[in-house]
């Protein structure tokens, strides 16, 4: 059996696609060449690591779909029968607010779209993965996440600042968003550059997107456009469509 045939057989074992006949061959080879067991173990670990990365990517995609389809579901909205009148009153108030909002939106659409308006239109805070909010999260991180989710960005930034150096990319991203919202653009850019330098491809597109929004908020349209161009040219990129649409409006 050639080296290549053995390689194919080992891969089939790892991917669980051996036929009955191949399984016999595989066992014979492992018996005859025991050092292959070490190669097989490394190969299995690499395949499982790839699985880990792929599942993380899939989870991010599902988070995105969840957010787009269901928004931030937070409460069970099933009304209890005796509270129906409260829901009715609430509904009427909401309709009123919606009416005022629509009226304002129509008035605004007639105006030219300033970078400030575009920023407000396109800014959506990044939704962190729930996996990092486990029971073992340190107190300071819990407070940070709570403040971030309450959109109290100034508080989030103050809480996280002293321990920023020790944080992983997700926290750096949320901290940079908090900095943008607090108009601390220097810090935001520094943190986003740190993420980009780490070449962690899960966060690269997000970092570029928020960096572009930071430029936009500072009315640095050219710098914003350069980054948006990159995202809009890569159809696999996160924020690809938003970047395309925003490019057209700047």
């Amino acid at each position: 059996m050639t080296k290549e045939q053995i390689d194919i057989l080992l891969d089939k074992y790892v991917n669980n696609t051996l036929s009955a006949k191949e399984e016999i061959q595989f066992n014979e080879i492992l018996d005859n060449i025991p050092e292959l067991k070490r190669d097989l173990k490394i190969r299995q670990d690499i395949a499982q690591s790839m699985n880990y990365l792929g599942n993380k990517e899939l989870k991010n995609l599902l988070d995105k779909i969840h957010l787009e389809e269901f928004g931030n579901e937070q409460v069970d909205l099933t009304p209890k029968s005796k509270n129906w009148i409260i829901y009715l009153i609430g509904g009427i108030i909401l309709l009123g607010i919606l009416g005022v909002f629509l009226l304002n939106t129509n008035t605004q659409s007639a105006e030219s779209q300033s970078p400030e308006n575009l920023y407000a239109e396109y800014f959506e805070p990044f939704v962190p993965s729930s996996q990092t909010r486990g029971e073992n999260a340190e107190k300071i991180l819990e407070t940070f996440y709570e403040a971030y989710q309450d959109k109290n960005y100034a508080k989030a930034l103050n809480v996280i600042k002293p321990i920023l150096n020790e944080q992983e990319n997700q926290v750096l991203l949320l901290a940079s968003i908090s900095a943008i919202q607090s108009d601390n653009h220097n810090l935001a850019q520094k943190l986003l550059d740190q993420i980009l330098d780490s070449k962690d491809y899960y966060f690269t597109d997000h970092a570029n997107w928020y960096k572009a929004l930071s430029f936009l908020k500072q009315e640095k349209n050219k710098e914003a456009k350069d980054l948006l161009e990159e995202l809009s040219q890569d159809s696999d990129a996160d924020h690809h469509l938003e970047a395309k649409k925003l490019m057209e409006k700047i």
Partner: protein, 195 residues
């Protein structure tokens, strides 16, 4: 889309090629899992986590060569959600007296989620993979995660033949293995495992 067609598309597609399928699974079936979890002491966050774990497991199931769906997708996803929520309740040491919110009549094996648990070594290798260059990451992901054939990989990733794609994969594996073996912890781990 017919359900068999859905399985075929998941079987042969990458994550991003399957985005529309995930979206339609979400639209059609999330509510069912949500009701099940909420009626059984769970929260919306639990429902979201359970449903996503089920979709990830379903994606991997569909990739198995011999996988055939012997019931409706909704039944299958409900049974998987039920198993997964039961498992979580047991892990939390909660008394389990499940209230069903839909009828289902199939048994799904209990160990479907085992391969989503990773050792610290595998997570460390994942870091090396991320830095192995886009070309290697792409080909290894397509082969080991998306379970695509070398022929399909060659077509999708612009290699002029299956053999050239295979050679590229071999080169990438060699590179990763060399990087992995630089790691003292991993070397010790292999020694401990008697490899």
């Amino acid at each position: 889309m017919m359900e068999n067609e859905l399985i075929q598309k998941l079987k042969h597609g990458s994550i991003h090629e399957s985005e529309n399928i995930f979206r339609s699974l979400y639209k059609d079936h999330y509510e069912m899992t949500k009701q099940l979890v909420l009626k059984n002491n769970g929260t919306l966050e639990d429902a979201k986590d359970v449903f996503q774990e089920v979709i990830i497991a379903f994606y991997h199931k569909a990739k198995q060569e011999d996988f055939e769906l012997s019931c409706k997708v909704s039944t299958f996803l409900y049974a998987m959600s039920r198993n997964q929520w039961l498992k979580r309740l047991r892990d939390r040491k909660r008394i389990v007296n499940m209230v069903d919110t839909a009828s289902f009549d199939i048994a799904i094996e209990d160990n479907w989620q085992d391969d989503t648990e990773y050792s610290e070594h595998q997570i460390a290798i994942a870091e090396l993979l991320k830095n192995s260059g886009e070309r290697c990451l792409k080909i290894l992901k397509a082969f080991y995660f998306e379970k695509k054939s070398m022929k399909k990989i060659a077509e999708n990733q612009g290699y002029s033949s299956e053999q050239i794609a295979r050679n590229q994969k071999v080169r990438c594996m060699k590179k990763i293995k060399a990087a992995v073996m630089q790691n003292e912890n991993y070397k010790n781990y292999l020694l401990e495992m008697k490899f």
